[in-house]
Amino acid sequence: MLAFVIRRVLQALGVLLVVGFISFCMFQFMGDPVEGLLGQEATEEQRRELIERLGLEDPIPVQFVRFVGNAVQGDFGLSYRLARPVSELILERLPATLELAFVSAIIAMALGIVLGVFTAINRSGFAANFIMTASLIGVSLPTFLIGILLIYVFSVQLGWLPSFGRGETVEFFGWRSNLGSWDGLRSILLPAITLGLYQMTLIMRLVRAEMLEVLRQDYIRFARARGLSERAVNFGHALKNTLVPVVTVTGLQLGSIIAFAIVTESVFQWPGVGFLFIRSVEFVDVPVMAAYLLLIGALFVVINLIVDLLYFVIDPRLRSDRAGSH
């Protein structure tokens, strides 16, 4: 198992290096940071001086090696736009994104699993068919459109929920959280639903498919034949066996939740890393963009690792197989 973990970590580092190179290269081609920094009225001399100071005239490999060396030390340089350390900017905004992703993942998983189980158990019922068809609408609606419509209905027309920002936040041990106050909870609701809807339909459909598969298994018949209640059969036996693929997909989806937060955060002005990224793209703020892409890569790798480890917890067969073969 240790060998397995080490191998995965090495793989992850390789992935990160490639990702780092791609993200670095990509922004070599985009825009000119100098204009954004100096504004319209700067002189030629200032521009030349700035290009030199930023090292923008060095060959690309030199810039990249410098970039990796600094990144390893957690130093992604300074934001061209905000003139502050990138690591600090990201750390400052990460809680907002993680919290949004977390809440929407919870919503997506809770609703997705419940609806998935419901539609699987009542496979041919009217309600189940309706939910299945409706879920396709959820998959067919782009995230940005959902966000705009939610704002239109719940903020502008009904005036029930805030349309932007985090509202009131409460600090727990340096982590600014929305979950500590009523206003904060109200503020996180619309963005979390917007972000979670697509994932919810995915999870729901996945749970349904897996559940139908599991319900065909002999051990479910056997559990029924032993006189277990429908609830015990469906939730005690079937659901648990459904969870393995659900955990994988949900884990992988968490990465895309954080990435899709770009769209949601910009619609709801949610002050997270996605919003930071979009603003950075506008200002061609290369250090922030590069760090963001690396962050997404790192998050994905970590999530993958956690998913792998979760397998061990959920599925006893893997535990002994891995223990035996490695």
Binding site: G31, P33, V34, R53, R81, G159, G165, E282
Partner: protein
């Protein structure tokens, strides 16, 4: 459906107005939103509108522009040119205290102005003419310029005063080195003399200010706002939604299409005023051949008839009516009316005449038209991309096939500065309210010091000399004649295709009394509330 919707709206409006009534009894909290945030709190590190707006609430200069754009005293009570025409004398206000309790004196003024002239300052160009700043006594300061500079006060309205002791103690004598990613204490801490003090700030997210209890201007300004909560909301639909749903009280940039809705909504109003900014197209008329067209070996834009024909094809009123919903002031010159040098004659523009324009095109040898690329920003001016799109259609009617390249300002502006575009959109504001500023940047041929934004490649030694002479010409009448002469050339050469002057609009709760400031700089100490 409709009736329930209406009743819900009515309820929403009712609660909104109820909320206004309850909050306006004692403490007036102003929830303010605009598209962008301040870039830094260091008052000398950025020369940028939104940054200055926030700084103006906290810091003050020797003088300031009021809500009408007039220069009024701030930390200086009066100023005048001394017997030496190169020296301006400023008498400072006495008994002013910084938020930290330090008294404001001539030492602070000298220190602040010198700080603003340091290499890392973004304000140094505005003080380029300053040779020296001297303390005369504790409450008197002299500024000596290289030559006589009658417009010096115009350049001091955004020149903020910091406390010397506090700044030095916190090791921030040099302004934040933005270009080099620098950081100093002043970037996130403030200590001004202004009407408001910083409570908390999360950049791009939320900034909270409260009234300064010891403000010197009590009695001079209304000072009804006791707390400011400032949230940048970049997405315009979200920003409007926030105003409509009553989550903010005041937004600085209402999208033109939502003005009517915001104005019509119970409890909200929109106030408007012409902005000090003109939107126009520039054309490369100087090069003998250009790359962005489909004509080999020739530059169609070099022919003044082509430029005139294009000018004639633009239907400015259609743009005003449809694209800008009436929220613009069509013009034929690239300066707004409050700028010295503007005349109604200059601002006249031709009625669109496709037939005549086509005839001129044929005259110039382009009866079949030509194709050209138009570079356009999509995140800088009000409806910039839509204006460009409209122009594409209009120019298409005289045979000019326009290939639109709309992109963010970060990519657009370098094209102009690097002379990589032959046809582009630009907007220009005139903070000193004088034509000289425009000529320096947009008309003078491109040299080290001048014409850095002149994308037309126009070069005329006679005009260049005239432009340079304006800086030192103290005789107002002669100076104005020169300005007029330059404008005549610009217009007859059709150097630019002016579109319109932007109209600023601020959306706010009904009970707020606040006029639009022509530089888009709200000073909240002027804001009043009626119940």
């Amino acid at each position: 459906m409709t009736s329930t919707l209406t009743s819900r709206l009515a309820i929403a409006a009712l609660t909104a107005s109820f909320a206004v009534v309850t909050t306006s009894v004692e403490a007036e909290t102003l929830r303010w939103a605009r598209a962008g945030d301040s870039l830094t709190l260091d008052p000398h590190a950025q020369n940028e509108g939104p940054t200055h707006t926030l700084a103006h609430q906290i810091y003050e200069g020797l003088l300031q522009r009021d809500m009408a754009g007039e220069i009024i005293p701030a930390l200086a009570t009066d100023w005048a040119v001394t017997d030496d025409p190169k020296v301006w004398r400023f008498n400072l206000r006495q008994g002013v205290k910084f938020h930290g309790g330090e008294e404001f004196t001539a030492d602070d003024a000298v220190f602040s102005l010198k700080r603003a002239m340091k290499p890392t300052s973004a304000m140094k160009e505005l003080l380029a003419s300053v040779a020296d700043v001297r303390k005369v006594d504790d409450y008197t300061v002299d500024i000596e310029t290289v030559g006589p500079n009658p417009l010096l006060p115009n350049n001091l309205t955004n020149m903020f005063m910091v406390d010397e002791g506090w700044t030095t103690a916190n090791d921030a004598v040099e302004p934040q080195d933005v270009a080099n990613g620098g950081e100093n204490y002043l970037v996130r801490n403030t200590n001004g003399t202004g009407a408001f003090m910083m409570v908390s700030r999360a950049p791009d997210e939320k900034t909270v200010l409260k009234a300064n209890p010891d403000y010197w201007g009590k009695g001079e300004f209304p000072l009804e706002v006791t707390e400011i909560i400032y949230t940048p909301i970049q997405n315009s639909a979200t920003r409007v939604a926030a105003l409509l749903s009553g989550e903010v009280d005041f937004i600085q940039d209402v999208p033109v299409q939502d003005l009517e809705r915001a104005d019509a909504q119970e409890g909200l109003k929109v106030v408007k005023a012409p902005q000090n900014r003109t939107i126009f197209f520039g054309m490369n008329m100087g090069d003998s051949d250009i790359t962005a067209d489909n004509v080999e070996g020739k530059n169609p834009l070099a022919d003044v008839r082509v430029r005139k024909a294009m000018n004639m094809a633009i239907n400015r009123e259609a743009i005003q009516k449809v694209v800008m919903r009436g929220q613009s002031d069509p013009t034929g010159v690239i300066i707004p009316p409050f700028v010295n040098g503007w005349t109604a004659e200059l601002a006249a523009y031709p009625t669109p005449d496709i037939a005549a324009a086509k005839a001129m095109m044929a005259d110039a040898g382009y009866a079949d038209g030509f194709a050209i690329r138009l570079d356009c920003p999509n995140d800088r001016y009000i409806n910039d991309e839509a204006i460009c799109q409209a122009a594409v259609g209009m120019l298409g009617q005289i045979g000019v096939t326009v290939n639109l390249n709309a992109q963010p300002k970060a990519q657009h502006f370098p094209l102009i500065k690097n002379k990589e575009t032959d046809f582009y959109m630009l907007g220009w504001g005139v903070p000193p309210f004088d034509s000289e500023y425009v000529f320096n940047f947009l008309v003078h041929s491109t040299t080290d010091k001048y014409g850095s934004w002149n994308g037309t490649r126009y070069s005329n030694a006679e005009i260049d000399a005239l432009v340079v002479s304006l800086a030192t010409e103290t005789d107002t009448e002669k100076r104005n004649l020169a300005i007029n002469k330059i404008w005549e050339t610009v217009q007859s050469e059709q150097l630019y295709l002016p579109i319109h002057n932007q109209i600023l609009n601020w959306g706010m709760k009904d009970n707020i009394n606040f006029d639009v400031q022509p530089e888009d700089q709200p000073h909240f100490k002027f804001m009043t509330f009626s119940n």
